[in-house]
Symmetry: C2
Subunit: 324 residues, 2 copies
């Protein structure tokens, strides 16, 4: 080979590498399935071309975009709030589930079951205006630290997924978050961290009441569930908020099964379903069928049947977090 | 003046006119209030500059973007559906409110009250999948004609408002529809007619149920109200779907009062509230305080107090419809 040609090939290769929109993804079948899907969908004149207005991508949040172990971040927020609010509620010292929270007795708390969790969410998430709740969550996220990584939770987002969000948007996709988490817990920071604007966030919610107060309009948060954006709630929430079926969806747990079904099954045109499988106990966590948070059991079996792509975090991701 | 300079000024003026983004609006205080608001909000470095991500504009639909007389278009759809479905329901011949609909007895129907209307909406809007409902509404809109104008309803949209939607988008605004009408009744056509994508439509809805049917996922429409996007429901719907307060809102009736309050009151930065006042009985309709559909009473008084802009359709609009 002529030296000049060889040098030219080397620089072309370097250029291609520099331009790789998914640098934190290892080369292999997983990355290829995503890149091939996007390439086919955006190839004008090709058989799988998808018009821009139909390029809808949905992402679960907990366990798909950021960590959900050892507990959901929003649950950590709720437990911290109980501690902050405790001086105003002396009766909590002897009243479950609050006493368990104040004592740090996670076993007792887990034994209290779902009703206890709903009670904790109600007292910590309601009884204030939407503006006040936004201030409380923003301040908490700015100061709270994960115990294992000693980092703000907003740094515990998966770098390969950030690249994926940007890659899809660069290819004309509208990216939506569709999470079981609280819609108003996510919105204050999703634009800054994920580039996803508030109107493209779908989540669980409690009811609100509109009130004029001293001439100013407010929305007051009520201790009453409005919508649970999990399992069958995900396609319902997608339909309610987006009004179109996604053509690609990313999830990591059984709570995402119906979203992946709604996205990929019984529809024409190219479709892609992706499951993020937590397989890396060293760099993050390894869990699936038996996990308390983010259980991946039925959806893992469904992935094999429906040919959904499975991301093996340990093998497919060069790094997990930006700071790795 | 030198001839050359004069000619140059004339052509500049002609150019300015050719570039007027609101050609169907007469010059005057109303048009100026809108143009000034947009100019101030988009003047980088100016005191009222609004970052692009906060440029949220909301529009009511019935009576603000298209006609709502002699009855809401969606009600005309529901009545037509009762007629189409009647052969499968022989009992309707003697059962109110269906008998009144089949006899065309609008007085009897009006006397039946709101409960009757809810019953009609339930039988005509539920009991099918979302895909089936989209097909039914799309086919109806393609064939139904307004009795007075002999036109498809999708041609009975206000040309000045179409220009306004485009003008705002050209200035970086995200335009949303926030309507008391059914969210799924609007979505099949809002992008084509208004340039508003399905995820930017907020409206009333009924509950849906997710089901896998022969391996294909479906959402089945249930005869149960999910959300009423009217009056205090509008700020609640805006918060739920958009997650940010609009800085400009357009309405035409008391159902829009709270949306205009939520948009304009108790918030910093430039805000604009606009009420479309139906004052043109010749080209369209004239109605306000006593109208059965689209009553404008409390919001008309509030407009004066809060300095909301009032569009006088007769005086402010050169033409109402594109075909005028």
């Amino acid at each position: 080979m002529l030296p000049l040609l060889s040098a030219s090939l080397r620089s072309t290769s370097a250029l291609a590498q520099a331009r790789d929109p998914l640098p934190s993804w290892n080369e292999g079948a997983t990355k290829s399935s995503i890149v091939n899907f996007v390439t086919r969908g955006t190839s004008q004149g090709g058989p799988d071309f998808v018009p821009v207005d139909q390029r809808i991508a949905t992402f679960d949040n907990d366990g798909t975009l950021w960590i959900e172990q050892p507990m959901y971040v929003q649950l950590a927020f709720a437990l911290d709030r109980v501690k902050v609010m405790a001086p105003m509620h002396p009766e909590w010292k002897t009243k479950q589930p609050f006493a368990a929270v104040l004592d740090g007795d996670m076993k007792e708390l887990a034994a209290s079951g779902e009703k206890a969790l709903v009670e904790i969410i109600a007292v910590t998430h309601a009884g204030m205006t939407t503006a006040e709740f936004e201030k409380i969550t923003s301040e908490w996220l700015a100061t709270a630290r994960d115990h294992r990584f000693k980092r703000p939770y907003t740094e515990l987002v998966y770098q390969p997924m950030l690249e994926l969000l940007a890659y899809l948007r660069a290819n004309g996709f509208k990216t939506f978050i569709v999470s079981g988490g609280g819609i108003e817990f996510m919105r204050p920071w999703t634009e800054r961290i994920y580039g996803v604007q508030p109107d493209q966030v779908v989540g669980s919610s409690i009811k609100t009441r509109f009130e004029m107060k001293d001439g100013a309009p407010t929305l007051f948060r009520l201790p009453e569930v409005n919508f649970v954006d999990d399992k069958t709630g995900k396609p319902i929430g997608i339909n309610e908020h987006i009004g179109r079926r996604p053509i690609v969806a990313f999830g990591n747990s059984d709570g995402d099964l119906e979203m992946l079904q709604w996205t990929t099954l019984g529809a024409s045109g190219p479709r892609l379903g992706v499951i993020v499988h937590h397989t890396d106990a060293v760099r993050e966590y390894a869990y699936d069928r038996d996990s308390h948070f983010g259980r991946l059991n039925v959806a893992l079996d469904a992935a094999a049947v429906n040919k959904w792509t499975i991301v093996n975090m340990k093998n497919d991701w060069k790094r997990i977090f930006a700071f790795d």
